[in-house]
Amino acid sequence: MARSINVALIGNPNTGKTSLFNRLTGLNQKVGNYPGITVEKKEGVCKLDRGLKAHILDLPGTYSLNTSSLDESVVVETLLNKNSRDFPDVAVVVSDIENLKRNLLLFTQIKDLEIPTILVINMADRMERKAITLDIDLMEQELNTKVVLVSARKNTGIDALKEAITQYKTLSTNPCVQSSIIDPAYFDRLRAAYPNQLLYKLWLVITQDVNFGKVDRNRDFENIKKGSFAIKSEDDLKKLQHKETVVRYQFINGLLKKVHKIDAANAKDLRSKLDRILIHKIWGYLIFFMILLVIFQAIYDWSSYPMDWIDQLFASISTFIASSLPSGPLTSLLAEGIIPGLGGIVIFIPQIAFLFFFIALLEESGYMSRVVFLMDHIMKKFGLSGKSVVPLVSGTACAIPAVMATRNIEDWKERLITILVVPFTTCSARLPVYLIIIALVIPDQDVWWVFNLQGLTLMLLYLLGFGAAIFSAWVLNKVLPIQRKAFFVMEMPAYKVPMGKNVLITVVEKTKSFVLGAGKIIMAISIVLWVLASYGLGEQFTNAEQIVTQKYASQGLTESELEQKIASHELEYSFIGYIGKAIEPAVRPLGYDWKIGIAIVSSFAAREVFVGTLATIYSVENAEEETIKNRMKAEVNPILGGPLFTFASGISLLLFYAFAMQCMSTLAIVKRETNGWKWPAVQFSAMTLIAYFAALGAFQLLQ
C-alpha cells in the first residue's frame, strides 16, 4: 500500500501558489468548503517517488499568521491543530522572487511552529530580467531548511520540489526567530504555566482574537484564553504583535543583505508604466468601462447561442421521450418534469463559464486589484468595495454566476451584502416579462423627438434595479450586526500574462460546483412545480377533456384549438391553479387576477416562464409574442370591469418583477454560497415584501 503524507501549501496572495498547486496535482484536485464556513478548500493528490503519495492542501493566501479574516484563520487553525486530519507533515511556503522580503515574514512564523518547512521561491524565471542573484546555499544554512527555486509558469524546479517533499524527514524543525525576546518576562511565565506546549503556538492562540475576534473551534486552547494569560490588554497585545513584526523584519533584512543582490540599474518596471494608464483618473475608468462592456456582451449576447442550442436539445429530448415511450405518469414525469429540470440547470453553464473565464483573466493578470482601486471610493459609501462591482454588473445578465463571483470578496460582511443585493439588478430573465408588459401598457411614441417612451421605460427599470441594489447595500451595511475589518490594505500585484491552465481549471471548477451544488435544489423544485401544475383534484381536473369537449361541441373547433382549451382548463384546476386562486385576494389590490397569480407562482422556476404560463392559461395557440399580447389586451378585469392590463396594473406588475426574488436557481446558489437556508430565506421574504408593497402602492396610486 502506498504511504501518504499531508503537505500544506502556504503563501502570500499573488505568489503563484495556486499555479504551483495546479502543477503538482493537475486536474487531480477537489474543491469544497471547510466544514461550517464558506472558505474554499482545495485539495489534490501528487504522486512522489518510492511509492509515496502526497495529499496536498492549498491553504488560502495569507500575509502572516496574525489573522484578520476568515480565510486567514483557516490557515492558523490548520497549523495549530495537531489532531486534525489536515495537519501537515510538511509545510511548503511559497514565495515569489520579487517580494521575497515580505514573503519571508510568513515563512519565519511557520518555521517557528516547528513543522518541517520547505521554502519555495517561485517566478525564478524572472530573476534574470530583474537582475536578481541569490545565494541559495547560504540561505539554506541561515534558514535551517531546504530552499527550492521553481517557476510554476515555465514548469521548472517542480521535480526538485517533489524530491524535497519526499525527503521531508531530514528537515530541521528548529525555529529561526526567537519571538520571546519581545517580552521575556511574559513569555517566561507562559512557558512555566504550560511546559508541554510550544511557546510560539501559545502566543498565536492568545493573540489570535485580537485582530479577528471570531473563530476558535479548538477546545484545547479555551483554557489558555480564559486563564491568567489573557491579562494583557488588547492594546498591549497589539503592541507586542507590532514588536514581533519588527523583530522578524530585522532578521529578514539581515539575511537578505547577505544572500540577495539586485542590480537596480538593470531592473525594468512594467507595473508602473501600465498603472499610469490602467488606473489613470480618466483612461482608467474608460478602460474598465470597456472591459465591463465586453463581459456584459459575453454573458448577455454570446452565451445566448449555446443557450439556444441547449434549450432546443432538451426540448427535442422531451419530445422524443414523450413520443417513443408508452404514455403514462412516469413518461410525463420524465418528459415534462425531469428533462426540462435538467435543461434548466444546464442552460446556465454558458453564462457561468463566460463570466468565470473573464474573472479568471482579471484575477490572474493582476487587473482585479486595479478595479478595486478605481471603485473603492465610490463603493465604500455603500458598505461595499471595488470588488463588488464585477458581481453587481454581471448580475445584470444573470444573478447566478454573479453570486458565485462574490467568492473573490474576502470580507464576509461585504460579500454577504453583495450576495443579498445582486438579485435586484435587472437580469436577462426579466426582459421577456418587461418587454411584453411595456408593449401592452406604455404607448409607443417618441418624446422630444429622440426618446422612445417604451425604451425609456426599459432604461428606467434597469436604473431602478441597480438603484435598489445599491440602496439596500447601504441599508444592510447599517443594520447587519456583523463585525468587519475596519481597514483597507490591498496589494497591487505585478501584471502577469494569465496562464491558460489556471483559467481553464477555474472555469471547470465553477461550472462543476454550480451543477453539483445548486443543481440538486433546482431539480427538486422543478419537479415539485411540475407536479403542482400537472396534477389536480376533483372532477374538473380528471374529466377536463370531457367537460371541455362538451362545452365547445357546438363551436366546431379544430383539434389543436380544442387541445389548447383542455390544457388551459387542466391548468386552472391543477394544484397550481388552486394556489393561484387562493392568493387572488392577496394580489387583487395589486391589480391582478388569479390567472396572473398562477403565472407569478409558476415563474418561480424562472421569470421568463411568466409569458409561457399566460399563453397556456389563455389557451393561445402559438406562443408568438404578438398573439399573446393581443390576447392579454382583450383580458377583462373580473372585478372592476374594463381591460385587466391597464397602465396601473402594468406598472404594478413591472415593479413586482423588478423587486421580487422570482428565481429558485438564484436561491439555490445563495444557499450554497452562504452555507444554509437562513440568508436565502431572509432574501426571499424581504424581496417579496418589497415587491408586494411597491406594486400595491403603484396600483393604488395610479388606478
Binding site: Y63, D235, R271, D275, I279, F373, D376, F487, F488
Partner: protein, 76 residues
C-alpha cells in the same frame, strides 16, 4: 504641521518616521510599513482616495484615512 503620507506628491520619496500602533493595522506593518523604511507615492485615485504606494518594495493601496496617520520624513 507634521508631514504624513497623505501629503506626499506623486513620485515623491520619503522615509516613514512614526505612527501610533493603534492607528495602523498590523497588516500594513506586515507589508513592510515600518519606521525607517522608504515610501514612494505612486498614484492616487480621484478625491485622493485610495492612495497607491510603494513601501519597502511592496506595491499597495491604502485609504486616505490611514495614510494621514503615518508620519514621514520627506528628505529621505
Amino acid at each position: 504641521m507634521k508631514k504624513t503620507i497623505a501629503h506626499l506628491k506623486r513620485g515623491e520619496h520619503a522615509i516613514i518616521k512614526s505612527f501610533k500602533e493603534t492607528d495602523v493595522p498590523l497588516k500594513l506593518l506586515e507589508m513592510g510599513c515600518l519606521p525607517g523604511n522608504e515610501v514612494v507615492m505612486m498614484q492616487s485615485a480621484p478625491f485622493q482616495d485610495p492612495i497607491y504606494l510603494n513601501i519597502n518594495g511592496t506595491h499597495l493601496a491604502i485609504r486616505r484615512e490611514t495614510a494621514c496617520k503615518i508620519y514621514v520624513d520627506p528628505h529621505g
